[in-house]
């Protein structure tokens, strides 16, 4: 194998490993409030610590609806009438690092970082 080819293989392997590590080994900043944004505007704030008994909540937008399942410390999209269902397949989130996104409905669910 040529040295130049090896250089690119090593470079990309390191970059891929570093970014995967950054994503997977991120520190968990667990919050208790889930903020629901539609079109970049705050639509709803859900207190996850208060949800002792899981319940469902439907967010209606001009683009369609998303039914959220709220349980203690976690939130997920249980059902949505979008054609991609990416948000449904994503499952529940428990920390502030990665939001749930439903692009067709311009919806973002983000767990807020706890106040210091």
């Amino acid at each position: 194998m040529k040295r130049k080819t090896l250089f690119w293989i090593v470079l990309f392997a390191v970059l891929a490993a570093a970014s995967a590590g950054m994503y997977l080994l991120r520190g968990g900043a667990g919050g208790t409030v889930a903020a629901v944004y539609v079109d970049g505007e705050l639509r709803d704030r859900i207190d996850l610590s208060a949800a002792v008994i899981p319940y469902e909540l439907t967010v209606e937008t001009e683009y369609g609806y998303n039914t959220l399942r709220v349980s203690h410390g976690a939130v997920e999209v249980a059902e949505a009438d979008c054609d991609e269902q990416v948000c449904v397949h994503q499952g529940a989130i428990r920390d502030s690092l990665v939001p749930i996104v439903c692009l067709p409905h311009r919806l973002v669910i983000q767990i807020e970082e706890p106040e210091p």
């Binding site: 040529k2 130049k4 080819t5 690119w8 990309f12 970059l15 891929a16 490993a17 970014s19 995967a20 950054m22 994503y23 944004y37 079109d39 970049g40 505007e41 054609d83 990416v86 948000c87 397949h89 994503q90 499952g91 690092l97 990665v98 939001p99 996104v101 692009l103 067709p104 311009r106 919806l107 973002v108 983000q110």
Partner: protein, 166 residues
């Protein structure tokens, strides 16, 4: 290659990439990160670029994106495909001349990174939230892996196809 023969070859490439795209859309995503997929249609874009030229690859890409949007039945799908596809095309067009044929896969990796960056930016514009940047490392990692794979596939196609396009 020129004239009618080239036109037919480009139409063939557009048709192939469309079929590949439709089939790939039926396969559920293997990782729970929104937007991650193999991007098999980019094998065709890169093949077209290396064999025929940058403009020809852009034509094949645009035909595929518009027709795929019609098949998927959503306008926003076209918008996201354009954001990723055009940025990817631009980066591959700029880097194609820098690498010999046996390192075509490197061009593909750069293209894949640009594709995912373009889609992430489009998603951030659409939702008007910067929180999506949290996905950037996952998308970068996915782009390197998928880009290397599709690039290797396009690279393997060079020699067998080159004999046929005189």
């Amino acid at each position: 290659m020129r004239g009618t023969k080239k036109l037919v070859f480009m139409a063939l490439l557009a048709a192939i990439s469309l079929v590949v795209w439709v089939i790939e859309a039926q396969i559920p995503a293997p990782i729970p990160v929104p937007g991650v997929k193999l991007g098999l249609a980019s094998v065709v874009t890169l093949t077209a670029m290396a064999l025929l030229g940058r403009k020809e690859a852009l034509a094949v890409l645009l035909v595929r994106i518009v027709l795929a949007g019609v098949f998927a039945g959503s306008f926003s799908a076209i918008l996201f495909s354009l954001a990723g596809g055009l940025l990817s095309w631009l980066v591959m067009a700029l880097t194609l001349g820098l690498f010999p044929e046996n390192r075509l896969w490197v061009v593909s990796v750069f293209g894949a990174i640009a594709h995912n960056a373009g889609q992430l930016l489009a998603a951030m514009l659409v939702t008007k939230t910067t929180a999506l940047i949290a996905y950037a490392p996952a998308l970068l990692c996915a782009a390197i892996v998928t880009g290397a794979f599709t690039g290797a596939a396009a690279q393997a196609l060079q020699k067998p196809l080159r004999g046929h396009i005189r």
